[in-house]
Amino acid sequence: MTASAIDCDLHPGVPSVATLLPYMDEYWRHTLVERGIEVLESASYPPNAPTSVRADWRGPKGRAPSTVGELQTQALDRWGAAFGILNPLFPVQLPFSRDMSAAMARAVNDWIRAEWLDRDDRLRASILLPNGLEDALAEIERLAPDRRFVQAMVLCMGETPIGRREWWPLHAALEKHGLPLAIHAGSAWRHPPTSVGWPSWHVEEYTSNIYGFQATLASLVTEGVFAKFPGLKVVLVESGVSWLPAFLWRLTKSWKGVRFEIPWIDRPPAEIVRDHVRLTVRPFDGPEDAEQMKRLLDHLRSDELLLWATDWPHAHFDGDDTVPPGLPEGLLTKIMVDNPRATYARLAEGVSA
């Protein structure tokens, strides 16, 4: 891995709610203890599922790595990288209380700042957004001045489709601050993760993230978010990649026949997605054969869509096989360096925290 690479998806584990208490105000610091809320775990990433944390990266009692030291040893120093972007998955989306969701998101973001960003100059982070729109806007305004926050993050299965107009103030704020919207795999569990009801198995549920990404992408495009906010970029994180060409084919094909319903979409949706949307490469869900991979990449019809990511500490590869199999050598600099730099304008700035 080249030393100028940018790893666009790293997951710092929050060990427990107690970790966040020092970053909360007096009320939340006490009430969470009084209520006995010691852990908050999402079914999106069951802690003991072998996919959630690679076996050789687990700590005592199988816990997920949760310190900057572990990140350095296991990934950053081992493989080398100019920057690593932290995407915390602590499930602040789960509480139904807007206030609790906001308090937890603030605490996670401040924990990231104090215990990660301040301890390694290579680190950057997503602003983890709470569920409420007003709270999300407040968090963006609070943290955007810290240029180490390079994007803001939601899950692909939230409360409502995020392209809808009630969400436009969020898109406006992100565009204003030059922050891409990261949409990460995972659910707020307000709806079954499939449109036909509840899955039975984890493998079924993890796969269903694809439907969440497709629905979210269709919402952003058809509602006209990119027409209204032409400066907005979206990064699909841990989305998989290989489903995209077929989905765009369907979306664009159908648009030709019913485009009068959404006349603000005056060019093929696939083009809009290629201009505004990027995807991280782990997981890729691609063929391992280089020739087949080349054909799949041709279907993307752009070499600017993909962003380098190891998805540490999720288990996608063994040892140091950081490059998804089949990816052409000639594309690596583009994916590892050029595309992330083009996506995250803030990476070019010096740290000004």
Binding site: R165, E223, G224, V225, A227, K228, W255, K256, G257, V258, R259, F260, P263, W264, D266, P268
Partner: protein
């Protein structure tokens, strides 16, 4: 190309259409408010007959949530996949450069001119006192 008399004007009222055969081609003739336009009756996509499609206007937008409607009845939608074609030009809305249906020049001629020829009237009897739709194909 030769000129074909395809119908008396009275047979295709404004908003109406007629499928005709000219020079061995199946052609659909539209009357847009007194002006006549002719298109090959074959969608460039998969060959459906455009003459079976509904007429629609042009829906545009300056920004999401804003609808601008104009040119009522001046587009025909292919009955199979609803692609919109501009009756005046044959061009599709979504890809006017590459996806278009072949247009043919169409107009109106008085029977008194037509009687003198050279026109192909085929099965249309021409009378001096009537006007006729003429297609070049």
């Amino acid at each position: 190309m030769s000129r074909h008399v395809v119908a008396p004007v009275s047979e295709i009222p404004p908003g109406g259409r007629k499928v005709v055969e000219a020079a061995g081609k199946r052609i659909v003739v539209f009357n847009l408010d007194g002006e006549f336009f002719a298109l090959l009756d074959r969608c460039p996509h998969q060959g459906s007959q455009l003459s079976g499609g509904i007429l629609c206007g042009l829906t545009q937008s300056d920004e999401p949530g804003h609808y601008r409607f104009s040119r009522a009845g001046e587009f025909v939608r292919c009955p199979w996949h609803q692609w919109e074609f501009d009756i005046r030009t044959g061009k599709s809305w979504f890809d006017p450069r590459r996806t278009k249906v072949r247009p043919f020049p169409a107009g109106v001629a008085e029977g008194s001119e037509l009687v003198e020829g050279p026109y192909t009237a085929e099965t249309i009897p021409v009378r001096v006192e009537e006007a006729y739709v003429v297609v070049e194909a």
